[in-house]
């Protein structure tokens, strides 16, 4: 295990993934891509947990990852329901179209 990848590298990867996901969320207007980017962000967070768990030899990191997986699954199902509803109502997949709650 000592020859394993250093923790910093793992965390750096997680951070890069997270930022990529964030950029995706902010920049894409297609709701499907936004959802995918959120998945990327979730998985980046999960990766960070696993890296940290490996560093401290604790199972908690992996437990948290499973937890995130479950949440992500739930999130996807809700998200896809939104996609359908959005498509149904606005005939588009553009998130900006759904801005009816502006002040």
């Amino acid at each position: 295990m000592t020859a394993a990848v250093p923790m910093e590298n793992g965390l750096l990867l997680a951070a890069v993934l997270f930022v990529l996901g964030l950029i995706g969320v902010l920049a894409r207007r297609d709701i499907v891509f936004v959802l995918m980017s959120i998945e990327v962000m979730l998985n980046a967070a999960g990766l960070a947990f696993i890296v940290a768990g490996a560093r401290w030899h604790q199972p908690d990191g992996q437990v948290m990852f499973l937890f995130i997986l479950a949440t992500a699954a739930a999130e996807v199902s809700v998200g896809l329901a939104f996609v359908l509803e959005l498509h149904h109502r606005f005939k588009a997949l553009d998130v900006d179209a759904a801005s009816e709650m502006r002040g």
């Binding site: 969320v25 902010l26 207007r29 900006d96 759904a98 801005s99 502006r102 002040g103």
Partner: protein
């Protein structure tokens, strides 16, 4: 009889209540009977009360009747109480008598008016208030009567309320006098706070005990009461309301704005003469105000065209004489002049009413003329009244009262040659403006047709007042003419006699001859200018400087203009600029600020999910940065 004193003011008040509350059920005759009857009864009672006071004078020379305690708070316990002493006795007899005559006159004069009942209701209320004023035992009750007569004056000036001009005049009268009244109220606060009572007799006693002559308190108190007096009596600088007050019906002008109410200031000062004696500076002001007013008003009377305005200015001028008398300590002379003035000025106004009525509501004396033959009775009575006003020597009441004032202005220890000279000059002016009216109205060619001749209800008051304008003065005559001094004797117990200066005595006869000849010159001048050869004087009248002076005098020396610019317009301007209340605007400012920040912040709520996400990310980064870099 004295125990019925309360009925003297109560009867007119009852008349007012009956006319107001159930009067609409009464026919015109019933209204007239109640209106005139209540005042006439009150007059009879006043005379009876006067007789019984004079027949069997109480030890204190005055009779006080306490009706009930108005209110009692600690030591402040003014009562509704009436006091009859020689001063108030003269006042109530004159007031009720003249008022009864004028009420009688009004029955015919107002016969065609749609508001007949309202007129008599107001008139009765006025008489009641005036009687309360002069009978009041304490200053608070006096103030009630004081404001009451002011109210009635307001109601009656604006009696024909459909014309906004009349209403404006009424408002002006009330507001201007109220300025004076407020000064008087402050004076009452001061007197009670310092001396602990408002009953007039003890108040005067305590003032004389506690305040040395010339002390600050005495000066302040006297000055504040003087403020009230100049307001009510239309003296400088609050005289502007009286000429406009002529908007009321003529009997009102006769009763309120000539004979009775406007002399309330004279009464007040005479009543509180102790205070003025304690404050020589203020007493001098009284004399100077009187002298200045009588000259100013005399000049204005010279150039008026409206017959009632001439008489109004002459009233101001004559009250100026009374103030002059008060100012030199000739207390009883002032009251004497009040009495004779009440007779002849009421007479003149009533006569003017007949003339105006006869000529279809024409007020302009230049459009009148030649009425001597058409209205003979009116002419003769008016002539008698004018002679009395101008103080025609020996045969008129006005001569004796004015003579007394002029003589004491000279001979009193606080009199002076200047005051005397002002009085004499004033009597010259009086003669000119009075006979100007007589000549223009009753002599010359008839210019308008007379449409209406007076009936009995008008003739009787005219004749009675004319008789009194002649004989009313014989109760007090100069030394060289029998030296009757009934009036001064009567007043002796209430009003101190004027102190004569040593070495200034001189010869009263000489001064009388001077005054009389000045007055005769005045009549002759009026004859020349307005009747004899008016053409010769037209060029003089047209000269630019003379014309400007005439305009200036016509406008009452520009006081109205001045007050309008200095007081009325700024007040109205500020009020209208601030109609929406600048303080409220500041609260609206707060509300606007809240609304503005709401608008700004709500703009950030775009409804776009991606913006929210960006916001969350940015916030997280900032918080992380703070956590990381703070250490």
């Amino acid at each position: 009889m004295l125990s019925l004193l309360w009925l003297v003011p109560a009867l007119p008040l009852l008349g007012f209540l009956v006319l107001t509350l159930v009067g609409f059920r009464l026919p015109r005759l019933g209204v007239a009977v109640i209106g005139v009857g209540s005042v006439a009864l009150s007059c009879i009672l006043a005379i009876l009360a006067a007789a019984s006071l004079l027949m069997a004078p109480p030890a204190s020379h005055s009779y006080t009747q306490i009706l009930w305690t108005w209110l009692r708070v600690g030591s402040f316990a003014p009562e509704i109480a009436l006091t009859l002493d020689p001063l108030s006795l003269v006042m109530i007899v004159v007031v009720t008598f003249v008022a009864a005559l004028i009420h009688l006159y009004s029955v015919e004069f107002m016969a065609g008016d749609e508001s007949f009942r309202r007129f008599f209701a107001y008139m009765n209320l006025f008489v009641a208030s005036m009687l309360v004023l002069v009978l009041a035992d304490n200053l608070l009750l006096l103030y009630l009567g004081w404001e009451g007569v002011g109210l009635c004056s307001y109601l009656l000036i604006g009696f024909w309320y459909k014309d906004p001009v009349n209403v404006a005049a009424a408002n002006k009268a009330f507001i201007v006098t109220r300025v004076g009244d407020t000064a008087m109220a402050v004076g009452i606060f001061l007197l009670f706070t310092q001396l602990g009572t408002l009953r007039i007799a003890p108040l005067m006693g305590r003032a004389a005990e506690q305040w040395p002559v010339g002390s600050g308190m005495a000066v302040a108190a006297a000055a504040l009461l003087l403020g009230g007096a100049v307001g009510k009596s239309a003296q400088l600088p609050l005289q502007t309301w009286l000429p406009d007050a002529m908007a009321g019906p003529t009997p009102v002008s006769a009763l309120i704005h000539a004979a009775t109410m406007v002399t309330a200031g004279v009464y007040l000062i005479a009543r509180t003469n102790v205070l003025f004696t304690l404050a020589p500076a203020v007493q001098l002001v009284v004399a100077v105000v009187g002298a200045a007013t009588l000259l100013l008003a005399g000049c204005s009377a010279l150039v008026q065209r409206d017959i009632k305005r001439v008489l109004a200015y002459s009233t101001i001028s004559q009250i100026g004489y009374m103030f002059l008398a008060l100012g030199v300590g000739a207390w009883s002379a002032a009251i004497f002049h009040f009495m004779t003035h009440a007779f002849f000025k009421a007479l003149l106004f009533l006569g003017a009413g007949v003339v105006i009525e006869a000529l279809h509501d024409e007020h302009d004396i230049y459009k009148m003329g030649g009425l001597r033959r058409q209205l003979p009775l009116t002419f003769w009575t008016f002539l008698i009244g004018s002679a009395s006003l101008a103080a025609l020597p020996l045969v008129t009441a006005g001569f004796y009262s004015k003579d007394l004032i002029l003589w004491q202005a000279w001979s009193s220890s606080i009199g002076s040659a200047w005051l005397w000279a002002a009085g004499v000059l004033g009597s010259f002016l009086t003669a000119v403006y009075t006979f100007r009216v007589v000549f223009l109205t009753f002599f010359g060619d008839a210019k308008l047709q007379v449409s209406k001749k007076p009936g009995m209800a008008i003739r009787i008051p005219l004749v009675v007042l004319a008789v009194l304008s002649v004989v009313g003065g014989f109760v007090e005559t100069p030394r060289f003419l029998g030296h009757a001094s009934l009036f001064t004797e009567l007043m002796r117990t209430t009003l101190p006699a004027a102190s004569e200066a040593v070495g200034r005595a001189g010869d009263e006869l000489t001064f009388d001859i001077i005054a009389a000849s000045v007055m005769l010159v005045g009549i002759y001048l009026a004859y020349l200018v307005f009747l004899g050869s008016p053409r010769r004087f037209e060029d003089v009248a047209r000269a630019p400087s003379v014309a400007a002076l005439r305009r200036f005098w016509f406008a009452g020396w520009g006081f109205d203009w001045l007050y309008d610019r200095v007081l009325v317009q700024p007040y109205v301007w500020i009020a209208h600029r601030d109609r929406n209340d600048v303080i409220d605007q500041s609260y609206r400012g707060i509300a606007w600020l809240a609304a503005a920040s709401w608008r700004t912040l709500s703009r950030t709520q775009t409804g776009r999910v991606r913006w929210y996400a960006a916001g969350i990310a940015a916030g997280a980064i900032i918080i992380l940065a703070i956590v990381v870099f703070r250490t």
